[in-house]
Symmetry: C2
Subunit: 136 residues, 2 copies
């Protein structure tokens, strides 16, 4: 099944609230996450909310990574979406979980941009609802 890209929808729980509040730290983590996934950053946009919370995306040559944080809940919602056989979005996901000190990670993986015989594009879930507990 040939797809243009892979997209991991990811919820990270039990994260360090201080890290989730630090927009510069989050930005740096996203840059490194793109690198470890072997992707190339073209643009980025980050925002620090008051009183707390960070949102941001890095636009890649190979799609994007995004993050939204709720420090008061120890929770971050992330997306890791990369195209091309040279990239691996799971490496970015593992890096994020480590930097945010997540205690658990819930993921669903899609393949996106699958061309059907009629020329339409579809997506399919390729790894459903995988939950990992991480040791501190």
């Amino acid at each position: 099944m040939k797809a243009l890209g892979r997209h991991i929808v990811c919820e990270l729980s039990g994260c360090d609230p201080e890290i989730l509040t630090d927009v510069d730290g989050i930005h740096a983590m996203m840059v490194t996450a793109a690198k470890v996934a072997r992707a190339t950053i073209m643009e980025s946009a980050f925002h620090r909310f008051e009183p707390q919370g960070v949102s941001g995306t890095v636009i890649l040559a190979e799609s994007h990574l995004s993050i939204h944080t709720w420090p008061e809940k120890g929770y971050a919602a992330m997306d890791f979406y990369t195209c091309g056989d040279h990239t691996d979005p799971w490496l970015a996901c593992d890096h994020a979980a480590e930097v945010l000190s997540a205690k658990s990670v819930l993921t669903t993986e899609f393949k996106r941009g699958i061309e059907k015989s009629d020329g339409e594009y579809t997506h399919v879930v390729t790894r459903d609802h995988v939950e990992r507990s991480l040791s501190a």
Copy 2:
């Protein structure tokens, strides 16, 4: 089931290749898509690839919208992710499909940021693999 947000993963097929190539037009469409979903844009980042293709995101007060286009395939991969009861990501999705002149739209909807009893956050698919054909 109380969730922090709703996220639509969306593939648009049979789109107008000229529109998919026009970074300013795509940016304008994304701004309007955020407005019709009753969301507020905080930041945005767009990139025009050579020889063709556009990628971009708008960071919302309520999460984000993103787009990646393949004009040569008439295909766009989009995400519509909004938080809060005042927003409706489906309104943004409908707007995008109309502006891109998509002939078909394939969507999967998640609810994200669902707090479980143990304090962990999860997501669930709430509308799976819905395909709509649109008249020209």
